[in-house]
């Protein structure tokens, strides 16, 4: 039973029963459409679809959500190539070479490269997940309250440092998220924090309504404010990928796959960072640097492989530490909890087979994505032309249903509206959303483990700094903060060089 190959086979057998292929087909399609439409993100897609999965069994629900996630990240490249507008933030790097290719009359070829890169990326990341998640899960069993506290804090800090923009604002956003997570009854004494006598507030702010607000309502407001989307190129050449693109750029595919998966596994970074990093690494190593930004096949391949490899990568810390690697993975984790699947270190003991079932789901989603990538070209062009004045109210309706459905409280709709407006204002004030979401998701983990650690030691904080893994995580967290301080790295490098010279 503990043989990984047998467990992987069992995982496929388990997932493929009960009409799984049917669910995979419709869910990947919805994911691609959501990802392709500018203004609708993968996070929003997974959050909205979570509502639909309430009455499904946990396995089917997870399959649907994994398929939406995989499909949406891939779908974003369609609008990036055809409209020069990334369908999701993850596809921003794909516009650099995808759109120039489309302008040269090679939109079909660009979409073929995107399909191939994305397929290889997800497959590569899934392979890494299958190989390392079970053993990392066993390693994570050594994590106690002290280590989990640092994992949560490290997630906030690394997301704040690297999620784009201003690190200081990133940290503030992360701690604002942590503050939001403290609203409602705490676990030790059932004391209702910041409830002000309101029974609804005492129940806490639901994760899903807040996420739907931040990623759904705020996106609708943002989309309605900006200029309208320009017309799409309607001439499409062949989308069949060329084998030569794989043989010629196999190094780029491997490098981007590895980078994408690694960045995905880092708490809170996500697909857009993975795509940009893969793109930059490919440009540095390329023999055709001058083509980058002007329609480079290698550049597009790197961005697509990186962002899609990030999807399985982002699921690794969800399964092993209960810490999401990206915003959509955060919603996926919330959905796992809703369905009674408790991700985290104990998963390796209580349900090790679940890791292999997720592997099977990712592979199925990847195969369906490949199929759609080859056949679904013209219908997606049509979908991209839907005016936003007609699309966005429908999205808003789905947000409202999604926020209400989980607990059937009208209060949750108000939470969604509030989170949407606050999320929109914070975006306008240049606060990154990734640390905010991670703070909201990790708030409970940090809260419980900090207090539990203090109780276990009778108030002595030294184990937070002296236990080996704690010490390493603390050092990593401080390093991430130091890295973000302007001028810190050059000064340290200069000091090292001077010492070496002396």
């Amino acid at each position: 039973m503990n043989n990984p190959i047998t467990m992987l086979g069992d995982g496929f057998a388990h997932v493929l029963q009960g009409g799984a292929v049917f669910h995979a087909f419709w869910a990947v399609l919805i994911g691609i459409v959501v990802g392709a439409l500018p203004g609708l993100t993968a996070t929003m897609g997974v959050a909205l679809l979570t509502t639909l999965t309430f009455t499904m069994g946990p396995n089917v629900a997870m399959l649907v959500l994994v398929c939406v996630y995989v499909g949406a990240i891939y779908g974003g490249s369609r609008s990036a190539i055809l409209l020069n507008i990334p369908g999701t933030p993850a596809s921003a790097a794909s516009t650099l070479d995808g759109f120039p290719l489309a302008k040269q009359g090679l939109a079909g070829r660009a979409m073929g490269i995107s399909t191939l890169g994305s397929w290889c990326g997800t497959l590569f990341g899934t392979l890494i997940l299958a190989m390392f998640a079970p053993s990392f899960g066993e390693f994570a069993l050594q994590f106690g309250s002290y280590e989990m506290f640092w994992v949560a804090l490290f997630g906030i800090v690394i997301a704040g440092s690297l999620s784009g923009g201003d690190p200081l604002k990133g940290y503030i956003a992360g701690f604002l998220g942590l503050l939001v997570a403290t609203v409602g009854q705490e676990t030790n004494h059932a004391y209702a924090r910041f409830a002000f006598g309101n029974a609804d507030l005492a129940g806490g702010l639901g994760l899903l309504p807040v996420l739907v607000g931040v990623f759904g309502v705020a996106e609708v407001l943002n989309a309605m404010r900006g200029p309208a989307v320009k017309a799409v190129s309607s001439k499409i050449d062949s989308v069949i990928p060329r084998i030569r693109d794989v043989t010629q750029y196999w190094r780029t595919i491997f490098r981007s796959g590895a980078l994408g998966t690694f960045i995905g596994a880092m708490p809170g970074l996500g697909e857009d960072i993975a795509a940009w990093t893969s793109y930059a690494a490919a440009k540095r190593a390329s023999k055709e640097k001058e083509l980058f930004g002007k329609g480079s096949v290698e550049g597009l391949m790197a961005a697509e492989t990186g962002e899609s490899a990030c999807v399985p990568g982002a699921i690794i810390p969800v399964l092993t530490l209960a810490v999401p690697g990206s915003a959509p993975a955060a919603v996926l984790m919330a959905a796992m909890m809703i369905h009674g699947l408790n991700p985290g270190p104990m998963l390796a003991i209580t349900a090790p087979e679940f890791i292999y079932q997720i592997v099977a789901m990712l592979v199925i989603a990847d195969m369906v994505k490949l199929l759609y990538g080859l056949v679904l070209v013209k219908p997606l062009l049509w979908v991209l032309l839907i005016p936003r004045a007609r699309l966005m109210p429908v999205v808003f309706v789905l947000c409202t249903v999604g926020a209400f459905a989980i607990t059937s409280r009208l209060f949750d709709i108000w939470v969604m509206l509030g989170a949407g407006l606050v999320g929109f204002i914070l975006r306008e004030l240049r606060f990154p959303m990734a640390p905010l979401v991670l703070g909201i998701v990790l708030g409970d983990l940090l809260d419980k483990n900090l207090l539990r650690g203090l109780v276990l030691t009778g108030g002595d904080v030294s184990p937070f700094f002296t236990r080996p893994i704690s010490m390493a995580l603390c050092a990593l967290t401080l390093l991430a903060v130091a890295w973000a301080i302007p001028g810190f790295v050059p000064r340290v490098m200069g000091l090292i060089r001077r010492r070496a010279a002396a």
Partner: protein
């Protein structure tokens, strides 16, 4: 995860105002956390006091707000003539106001008071009609009719799919 790096940075003065609001928030939450009961008699140590964690977070927010404020001042927030960067034009603000008002009216007022399909149909129709009105008088009646049809279809289909097929309770 989506960053915000594609936008121009905010002006130092705007950052200073943001820092002031965040500092007030941090200090306010710190005060509330301080006033929470400590439950020393139950826990013996008071280390499980509910105010510890929010107090810690609020302290960090306040400290970071001070850093943001100091940075803004160093960048010239207090100097005369610092302009607010970015900010949409009048048309953008109008569109935003219309979208936000209609959204709040729908989710906050109509939902729960009217049957869901009707509230949805009214919202989708008003939203589409409001944003397509400015396209021009040509074919306006047709666009309004299409908006009404879209509203009714959305109300009907969402109710059918969520309530009947996926058995999800609607407001």
């Amino acid at each position: 995860m989506s960053g915000g790096s594609d936008q121009a940075p905010l002006s130092p003065r705007a950052d200073l105002y943001v820092a002031a609001v965040l500092l007030a928030l941090g200090l306010g939450v710190m005060a509330l956390a301080w006033r929470m009961p400590t439950f020393v008699e139950q826990s013996g140590t008071g280390l499980t006091a509910p105010g510890i964690v929010p107090g810690f977070h609020a302290t960090v927010v306040a400290v970071l707000a001070v850093l943001l404020g100091l940075r803004a001042i160093r960048q010239g927030a207090l100097k005369a003539g610092t302009q607010r960067a970015g900010g949409g034009g009048g048309a953008d603000a109008w569109r935003l106001a219309i979208a936000a008002t209609l959204g709040v009216l729908y989710a906050g007022v109509l939902v729960g008071r009217l049957p869901f399909w009707l509230a949805t149909a009214l919202f989708v129709f008003s939203f589409t009609a409001a944003f397509e009105w400015s396209v021009g008088p040509a074919r306006r009646v047709r666009r309004l009719a299409e908006a009404a049809l879209l509203g009714l279809a959305t109300g009907g289909i969402v109710t059918l799919v969520f309530e009947r097929i996926f058995l999800v309770r609607l407001p």
